[in-house]
């Protein structure tokens, strides 16, 4: 018994000792070779298929964009640049819309087979196959035919599709790999080929995914690195700590206060830029919303009584100082040539709110704005201005935003009642039910999302959950989806946005910033606000 106890104790000590002393603890990313960098990310792709219904994640795109490589890719100014294509695809004629493209002679798959138009055609067939659960068929289902001649292809559309360039330029599957396969079950765990700068090597689920240089990639600069390893660390704090502790080289963090710790740290480089996602408050104009919201002057009071500038500065003062207020529901401030500040006229003025409401015969509210006010206005025929405000629970920034808006509006006699729900309930049940008054959330998107603004703001639009309907706005947004001339299309979109700024079906707040933090000893990463993600220029990345 005694001997056994001693032996047990020795074993226990040996285990503990080996844990501490055994594996050497190197300074620098975890025992990696010189040409390996570690990309820390907060989500793991469910599969490597691409934009599938379970898989419409940035995390998947970060990995697959450089495998299913694009004919063109978005650079860091959100401009499409030829990659596998010889040149930009051409709009041959507008009726019927016909587009031509040609892959470079040097564009080959990692198994040596050439990338051809047949790959594009096979990809198109995947996207229009109703059995396959792709996240979106937009554009693909408008195609009448694809005619191939080796590397060259001609696409004829059935109906005009404005976002044709990004559609044609997208990454394609290898026809010889997917032929006859059930795509719903393909690429769950690996990808056998690549047309991009890196190719798949291994995936330890729940831990990391490793990509290695594709030696057959000749259409652009080859990767200087040997490997890129994506490490999946789901906990926010652990992610930042791991980067600080040298367990990784680069990450794209969500808006988190921990970013501030890196701003003045010489061991790291922080890049910031607004992205295409924007925060806004939708106003319910349907029968299940508060009747007062159907009155334009009440909506004007809401936007005038909301200090939008204070919201963006209060939320992002430390990590994104100077974040501008968003004054358009269609264009973003960084789209300088297109962005028109139609909502600018709705500046913050509490006294103006009171005069608007009193001018329309509303009673019971305060005479002057006051933070201690508890009097709420009632307006003729619609009752008290007390609204149910829905947003997601567990999001610190949204909670703070709500508190600012609630305080601002209470000061002028408008009451907001918080209704915070989980994202599943909010977007799954509440939003489509239209049984809400005000709802704050983010619309994510990309450079082409504006083209389909009709789904949000046209009468009967697929995602027009606020039930806004103005024939003038609908006409402009619907026409924009069919307009192939970018200048005319942008003018139509701005015409629609002008009408939105008059009708106020939604209050734009701010464009969400995006960050990239990289170790100082890694050169090359350039923030890309499109879905290409930071690795869009991975070929230039280099460890110093």
């Amino acid at each position: 018994m005694r001997r056994r106890s001693i032996a047990l104790s020795i074993w226990a000590l040996a285990i503990v000792g080996s844990l501490v002393v055994g594996p050497a603890a190197p300074a620098g990313p975890e025992r990696t070779s010189a040409g390996t960098i570690v990309f820390i990310h907060d989500q793991e792709p469910p599969s490597l298929r691409g934009s599938w219904i379970d898989n419409n994640l940035l995390a998947t795109g970060l990995v697959t964009n450089n495998i299913w490589h694009g004919g063109q890719i978005y650079d860091n100014t959100a401009t499409l640049q030829p990659r596998l294509f010889e040149a930009k695809p051409k709009l041959v004629k507008t009726s019927p819309q016909t587009v031509s493209f040609r892959y470079k002679a040097s564009a080959v798959w990692s198994d040596g087979k050439p990338v051809t138009c047949a790959d594009w055609k096979a990809t198109w067939r995947v996207f229009v196959n109703p059995q396959f659960n792709v996240v979106s068929r937009a554009g693909y289902e408008d195609i009448r035919s694809v005619t191939c001649n080796g590397k060259a292809g001609t696409i004829v559309f059935r109906t005009p599709f404005a976002a044709w360039e990004s559609l044609v330029s997208g990454g394609v599957y290898a026809a010889h790999v997917i032929r006859g396969k059930n795509m719903n079950q393909m690429f769950n765990d690996s990808i056998p080929v690549s047309s991009g700068p890196w190719k798949f090597q291994s995936w330890q689920k729940g831990v990391q995914l490793t990509l290695v240089k594709n030696p057959r990639f000749k259409v652009g600069p080859a990767m200087k690195l040997d490997r890129v390893v994506f490490r999946f660390i789901l906990d926010t704090n652990a992610r930042f700590q791991a980067l600080k502790a040298g367990e990784g080289h680069v990450m794209e963090p969500q808006p988190q206060l921990q970013i501030a710790d890196f701003l003045n740290d010489n061991d790291f480089k922080v890049q910031r830029s607004p992205e295409y996602a924007f925060e806004h408050i939708d106003i319910q104009l349907g029968p299940r919303g508060h009747p007062a919201l159907k009155l334009p002057y009440v909506r004007q009071a809401l936007i005038t009584g909301t200090n939008r500038r204070q919201i963006s500065s209060a939320l992002y003062r430390t990590i994104a100082p100077g974040l501008p207020t968003l004054d358009s529901l269609v264009f973003k401030p960084f789209e300088k040539a297109l962005y028109q500040r139609h909502f600018r006229k709705w500046g913050f003025s509490q006294s103006k709110v009171i005069s608007i409401l009193k001018g329309k015969g509303c009673t019971g509210g305060p005479d002057t704005p006051s933070v201690n006010n508890s009097d709420i206005f009632s307006c003729p025929g619609v009752g008290r201005l007390s609204f149910r405000f829905f947003t997601t629970t567990g999001n610190q920034l949204r909670t703070l935003t709500f508190e600012i808006i609630q305080r601002d509006l209470k000061s002028v006699g408008i009451e907001l009642i918080p209704r915070f729900q989980t994202a599943g309930t909010l977007f799954g049940s509440t939003l489509p039910s239209s049984d809400w008054d005000l709802m704050m959330f983010t619309y994510a998107g990309g450079p082409d999302s504006k083209i389909t603004s009709n789904t949000l703001y046209s009468c009967g639009g697929d995602q027009n959950y606020g039930n806004y309907c103005n024939p003038k706005a609908s006409a402009a947004f619907n026409a924009a989806t069919r307009e192939l001339d970018p200048a005319k299309r942008n003018a139509l979109l701005n015409r629609g946005d002008t009408q939105l700024a008059v009708d106020l079906p939604s209050i734009p707040l701010y464009v969400r910033p995006k960050w990239v933090i990289s170790a100082a000893n890694l050169s090359g990463p350039l923030l890309n606000t499109t879905s290409e993600g930071t690795p869009w220029n991975v070929a230039t990345w280099q460890l110093k």
């Binding site: 104790s9 996240v135 599943g424």
Partner: protein, 324 residues
């Protein structure tokens, strides 16, 4: 004994069925798994409909539950809701990871706690006893997530001051973990912080039980008799008192172990360990009832089995306990 075991297992089946139905219902009504797709522009209605048809989402919950039962029995828990991904391989993977973590943490916790508990009891009201009591209460009162975060911050501070990363912050292994003994050592190195966090609460709790149990035994008549017979103190302590004092702890550890195998959500989340707890948490966030159900069945089975083991072990260690 055999009839007792069979009877317990039969009761357990009823419990499992009832629990599975309740959990399926709660998860199904708690939110829409297609929610995110509703705010994604241009989502294919056909793709959404394919999911609805495949998983019978348009059927009432009892019907959907019946389809799940069939899938679970005939198709190894079936597939995930949106991705149609087989559930069982993922579940096996995370179970193995959790088992490694929990096994090491519990083993070390029991060894340390027994030592502390016995010594505290034998030296009641000594400085060591007071110190152990204070530290135990501190351990019981410390929130695990806070402790985990503090340990991470500490390791980062040491790294920033000295350039040495004494323990990894997160994940199960290094980028190049190697194989064989190198892999084992690397995995062990990564599990140090999570094990410490898990051990703190277990050591605190087990040592209190052990101390109380040991105190009770060493003051009992038969121990006094053994001493009166002139047996050496070490023999009285180790052979007569210690074995009996272990009884309550055996039960507690067995029950606790079964529960921990279901995953240690906080520890696994903070340290990003690909285990049962994190698997469950992610499935819940995705409103996907199918992995949640698979997790539930495995966890509930573990708890039932370890309850049974505790009962049987109790009977084995204490001949006075008999099962009819």
């Amino acid at each position: 004994m055999l009839s007792y075991v069979v009877r317990r297992l039969l009761y357990s089946v009823v419990v499992l069925v009832a629990a599975s139905f309740l959990v399926f219902t709660f998860v199904s009504v708690s939110g829409d798994p297609l929610a995110q797709l509703r705010i994604t522009p241009n989502v294919s209605e056909q793709s959404k409909q394919n999911v609805i048809d495949r998983k019978h989402l348009d059927e009432p919950i009892p019907v959907r539950y019946w389809y799940w039962v069939k899938d679970a029995v005939m198709n190894q828990f079936g597939t995930t809701l949106l991705g149609d991904r087989p559930i069982l391989p993922d579940l096996w993977r995370v179970m193995k990871n959790t088992l490694q973590l929990v096994l090491v943490a519990e083993l070390l916790a029991v060894l340390i706690a027994v030592g502390i508990g016995v010594y505290s009891a034998l030296r009641q009201y000594s400085v060591f006893d007071y110190a152990a009591t204070t530290v135990s209460f501190l351990g019981l009162a410390t929130p695990l997530f806070w402790l985990a975060l503090m340990l991470q911050v500490l390791v980062v501070q040491i790294y920033e001051q000295t350039g040495h990363r004494i323990f990894p912050i997160a994940s199960l292994n290094s980028v190049d973990a190697g194989s064989g003994i190198h892999f084992v050592l690397d995995r062990a190195h990564h599990l140090v912080l999570p094990v410490v966090v898990l051990m703190v609460a277990s050591v605190a709790s087990y040592s209190r039980y052990m101390r109380a149990s040991m105190l009770e035994v060493i003051n009992s008549d038969y121990v006094r008799t053994a001493r009166a017979k002139g047996l050496p103190e070490r023999r009285v302590t180790m052979k007569h008192a210690f074995r009996n004092a272990l009884l309550p702890l055996v039960t507690l550890v067995a029950l606790n172990f079964g529960t921990l195998l279901g995953g240690v959500i906080v520890t696994e989340t903070v340290f990003s360990l690909d285990g049962m707890g994190l698997y469950f948490y992610n499935a819940l966030l995705a409103n996907d009832p199918y992995p949640v159900m698979a997790w539930l069945m495995v966890t509930a089975t573990m708890i039932i089995v370890f309850n049974l083991i505790a009962d049987i072990a109790y009977g084995y260690l204490d001949p006075r306990v008999r099962y009819d």
